[in-house]
Symmetry: C2
Subunit: 337 residues, 2 copies
């Protein structure tokens, strides 16, 4: 049995392993990448920033708010934690190069869980050629992750939220509403539903970010608060009105079938629940798929994975087919119950 | 009354203000710095990295583990959160350029507390010409901060933990043991003790980091786990033995007087407490002053603020006057009770 195999025996906990033992085990599970000049194990990491600029973003992933350990395995949590920051880097038009991971956890957390987390982080990083280059550990009563993503613009101008102009089209790359559907199905107890995976492991279209920049995107954002809320951020920052076409975002068969499964479950096991989310609400207000939304001049020929879903007009706010959306609003982390 | 003044009325809470309101208020309290190309408010920040490399580090500051709201004001907490990451950047020999701050807090946290935190973050950043360039917010049951520091090596080679060689001297810039003394006095109920400020607001010697690099430091670390523990990290990474001179680290009058105050308090109010920390233990094992420890070739003429406290020898581990230190060991975040 190797040292690592010994360390991950199920009865081992972070408290038994100790902080420096944990860091050693995590480091062994997190291979460096080419951009890493100084990796895990010093006061700070050093990454190549050949562009002369660095893109940087930080996101929380908190147990109980963003994931549940009984719904998601450690590798799922690692992938999701990495994805949230990597896609923020991509949403600027940059290529992710490295992550810093601050992990706080209870002393009784199994070491195997922490190593599963590291595996998930490393696997998601590997999708974009990045790596975990540093971090911090602490003890807390639940699992807390704060992940910083760093990236390289490779000479591109960053694509901000503020550049959309009347006449532009609005397009989306990546799925909409699937993570929200998965969360609804998990909340209804359907742990094995095929869409639960969309909540556990979002699949952001990382390379669509630099692609959009190269195509001349005028504004871009990753959809984490919900399509309408995030388009609202572009509309606010750009001083424009965005009108979304309901037909262009009409839920497909996968979401409609999921809504029927959710509906059926509610009727048989919980009685009628008039307020359950429907498929269109998942598309318009569900966050966490981390699709990219961008605006482009109307003259740009978009590759097939970019679906045009609306247009930019003079004015302010976000409409659906010219009217305010009457469903639930976007997510507010403090205002929400 | 301006909008900001309205927002900070004492009865206002984060829940009442909402996430986007909070971000707007924090942004207004956090001025950008010259290295900030894209600051708060987009998917990610963009910082200048003129050196072609970026130094990056992340540190937690958790309520209940690293600070208490009844012992430290929000500005203190902001300064300390910033200091921990800024000094890690300096300990590589780099100049800090920006911070990303992930802040989770209870919904009933007063907005005034969050703005005090932002003031402290901005003030500590201003000491080094850096600024807060981005972050994240979330709701949690206590205040959680994860702060990422970024920095610029300005052409210097990073000073690692692994470069110490037999024959080098070990030197320290900045205070030792004061934050630990302050914590002991706070724990004993002496909230107004002059040394409590050393716990609340450490004063790391940021510019000593690049200075040490320019002087030819062979290894460097910031003292966050305790002098002996952190010298142990250099000894391990460099494959050397470090021998500390007890005379060179003998506590000065300030710490001896603090130990007498602590002692006196214990006798009058709690009876004799044989295990209370003494001044030498504060120096050797107290973390959180964030002094810098570095090794230099013996031929280097050190400026006055660098005090030689020991030497590097062939071997392994850390000794005090040639013997293992018999006091408490360094801090282990998971192993500690």
């Amino acid at each position: 049995m190797t040292r690592t195999e010994q360390a991950i025996a199920d009865q081992d906990t972070l408290a038994a392993l100790g902080e420096f033992g944990l860091i050693a085990e995590l480091s062994a599970a997190l291979p460096p990448a080419p951009k890493t000049l100084v990796g895990i194990g010093d006061d700070a990491a050093v990454l190549a920033a050949p562009d002369g600029r660095v893109v940087a973003t930080t996101d929380f992933l908190l147990e109980g708010r963003h994931f549940r350990r009984d719904w998601s395995g450690p590798s799922d949590v690692g992938r999701k934690a990495a994805a949230r920051s990597l896609i923020d880097v991509a949403a600027m038009g940059a290529v992710p190069t490295g992550l810093l991971v601050a992990l706080a956890a209870p002393g009784d957390l199994p070491v195997s869980w922490a190593l599963g987390l590291a595996e998930g982080l490393a696997a998601e990083c590997a999708r974009v050629g990045a790596s975990v280059v540093g971090g911090d550990t602490a003890r807390a009563s639940s699992v807390l992750l704060a992940v910083t993503g760093l990236g390289d613009l490779r000479g591109r101008a960053p694509v901000l939220r503020s550049g959309a102009a009347p006449g532009d089209v609005v397009a989306v790359a990546g799925p909409l509403g699937r993570a929200a559907a998965g969360l609804a199905l998990l909340s209804a107890g359907l742990l094995d539903d095929p869409l639960a995976a969309a909540h556990r492991r979002p699949q952001p279209p990382y390379d669509a970010g630099p692609e959009a920049a190269d195509l001349g995107a005028t504004a871009m954002i990753d959809i984490s608060d919900g399509l309408l809320a995030d388009l609202g951020h572009i509309a606010d920052a750009s001083g424009v009105l965005i009108d979304v076409s309901a037909a262009a975002v009409a839920p497909g068969d996968v979401l409609l079938a999921a809504a029927r499964r959710h509906d059926l479950f509610d009727r048989t096991d919980r009685g009628s629940s008039p307020g359950h989310p429907d498929a269109l609400a998942w598309v318009l207000t569900g966050g966490e798929d981390h699709a990219l939304a961008a605006t482009f001049p109307a003259s740009v020929a978009l590759p097939p994975r970019w679906s045009v879903i609306g247009r930019v007009l003079a004015g302010q706010g976000v409409l659906v087919d010219g009217r305010p959306w009457a469903g639930p609003a976007g997510w507010d982390h403090f205002g929400a119950p």
